[in-house]
Amino acid sequence: MSSAQAHLELRGLNKTYPNTESPAVDSIDLNVAEGELVALLGPSGCGKTTTLRMVAGLLDPSAGEIVVNGKDLVGTPVHKRGMGMVFQSYALFPHMTVAENVGFGLQMRKLPRKEVKDRVQEALAMVQLDHLAQRRPAALSGGQQQRVALARALVVEPTLLLLDEPLSNLDAKLREAMRREIKQIQQRLGTTTLFVTHDQDEALDMADKIAIMHNGVIAQYAPPEEIFDRPATRFVATFVGKANFIEATEVVGRGGGRYRVSSDLLGTLEVEGVEGIEAAEDAALVVRPHRLGVRRRGESSAPQIGGEIVPGGPVVPGRVVDSAYTGNVRSLVVDVPDGQQIMIDELTVRDRALAIGDEVEIAFDPDDAFLVGSR
């Protein structure tokens, strides 16, 4: 099985349902390079599934273009788009065997019997289900059904592979195994893939690039590390991972995305941030809970737990008000002077536990703070 690598571009794609005020998908642009796996990530109702259904041809856009390999597909009916889609419910045909399900797309393309048979065999071998070819979908486990759905979508050598929350019906262990399997198959075939999910771990793990969607627009489109370390908006920072926000009182641009930021809590720091922030109003420093170091007050050069305490970095006093233990991580909530609460995730160390009521000092490396604007 091979794949003609396709390039997908969405231009001003818009979907406004009748009798609604705001569009479900608000004129988005998205560029997916050949062979890339792009995740559309966002909370329910953010427009990610609507976007995927428009690309598939299951929904007509209100405006905009869906360009695959330079050709606008708006108006092309779903059965002529040549894409492969895996549905959340898998949508396997219950009245057909596994082999008939996988062969359906090839039959529709009127390929000779022999070729259909060979390619079905090959696709089922790829997902390690060749021994179940004559079973009915109802006789398969969830993970097996998922793999049949994947084989059925890929056997037609689609221009694009579209995945709609494909792992959400599997249990946690199986989900992680399937992530790897899908990613490996996708990389081997090099099929350009658009993947809808509400699960940030899934997106961070699998995607080459993630488009974070919120209220019908793309809040950020970047590789996973950049989404996590340099969130474009407060929404992105809260939706992917946990985030502490420290409100800025004064922001001075230093050019090249660097700022001198003052805040009541931390004094004045020199940090990186989203480009183009001009005012302190609504601007805030994002600090991830696991990048904060914490020590009991008075332990001057304590063996720091979790993040590294950098000499010369800001140190903030506080008191532990909540502590949640999850095995490898202890999540603390600490009251700090300006009335705010700071979340800290520290890796657990044997025989050392900060308890509720403990007076502590929080410290961090200013390079781990990132300034986001009002958007």
Binding site: H79, H95, G105
Partner: protein, 312 residues
């Protein structure tokens, strides 16, 4: 009808499908007790069936073995004279034939007319869905007798259609649409359609919009989606609707009697005639038993068909 209902309820359970996980039964110790408790729940229904169905049928079977005396008196005996009388008389063969033709005609027409409606009602996402379904079966609120009279007013010689055609000069003499098989069938189809719509709606459970979308995404045109996915998945519902209308049509009495004007000879009307006019109860019972056998045969055929669909 109970046979149709139970079969239709389990289209997913393909017999012979050994890979299906075993039902979750409680532990071994409780197993027999649970089974007895479940059987006990059936007892009230079984008593009802015994009193209201099985005993009367047995009594009717016994009656069919009696003889009709020359003076019209009932002769208690054991004989198959009534069956011989029915089966050796070409008239009754014609009656059986008429009954089957009418049953098939009604079932076919009702299914063809109901299918698009049922499909629409199952698929619509309108907030009026509940109201629309209620409207589709609302005709059941009016008695079949009243609706039959309505059809006489429409199809009769001086009825709506003929009056219009005569007034427009399209026809010279009224079209014969009443007092015959045509009128009976038209009225029965309309009267029985709510049942086929209901049966189909409940039989379309395996249909899922994602399946049709999946077929489309794999390259199937709208027509192919219908023939390869929609139709096969709705077949159990179609069969249930067909069987339901068929058995209701061949057992219908009021509508064929009124619309037929005594000129439509089917089993139900003949049983009535023999039982109340000729007072030949053994013959009426024999005819009723034959009707029952026809029922049984078709339910058997239906179950085979459904089994075949499930097994592919």
């Amino acid at each position: 009808m109970s046979a149709a209902k139970t079969t239709q309820g389990t289209p997913g359970a393909a017999p012979g499908d050994t890979s299906r996980p075993a039902p979750l039964l409680p532990g071994r110790g409780n197993r027999s007790r649970t089974r007895w408790e479940l059987l006990a729940l059936l007892i009230p229904g079984l008593i009802g069936l015994l009193l209201a169905f099985i005993l009367p049928v047995l009594a009717m079977f016994r009656m069919s073995l009696n003889e009709h005396g020359t003076a019209g008196a009932l002769v208690e005996t054991i004989s198959i004279a009534s069956y011989q009388a029915v089966l050796s008389d070409p008239f009754y063969w014609q009656v059986i034939w008429n009954t089957l033709v009418m049953g098939f005609g009604c079932a076919l027409a009702a299914v063809v007319l109901s299918y698009p409606l049922a499909l629409f009602l199952v698929r619509t996402t309108s907030k009026w869905k509940g109201v629309l379904i209620a409207l589709a079966i609302a005709p059941l609120l009016t008695s079949a007798v009243a609706r039959t009279f309505g059809w006489i007013a429409i199809l009769g010689d001086q009825g709506m259609i003929n009056s219009v055609l005569l007034a427009l000069g399209v026809v010279e003499t009224p079209l014969r649409m009443n007092n015959n098989m045509f009128g009976s069938t038209v009225a029965l189809v309309e009267i029985l359609m709510p049942y086929s719509i209901l049966a189909m709606i409940s039989g379309f459970g395996r249909l899922n919009p994602a399946l049709e979308e999946a077929a489309g995404s794999l390259g199937a045109s709208k027509f192919k989606v219908f023939t390869k996915v929609t139709l096969p998945l709705t077949l159990p519902g179609i069969f249930t609707g067909f069987l339901l209308v068929f058995v209701l049509a061949i057992s219908a009495f009021v509508t064929p009697r009124l619309m037929g004007g005594g000129r439509v000879f089917i089993l139900a009307t003949e049983i009535y005639n023999e039982a109340t006019q000729t007072l030949n109860w053994p013959l009426a019972s024999a005819l009723a038993m034959i009707l029952l056998v026809v029922f049984g045969l078709f339910i058997l055929l239906y179950q085979r068909a459904v089994k075949r669909i499930d097994q592919g």
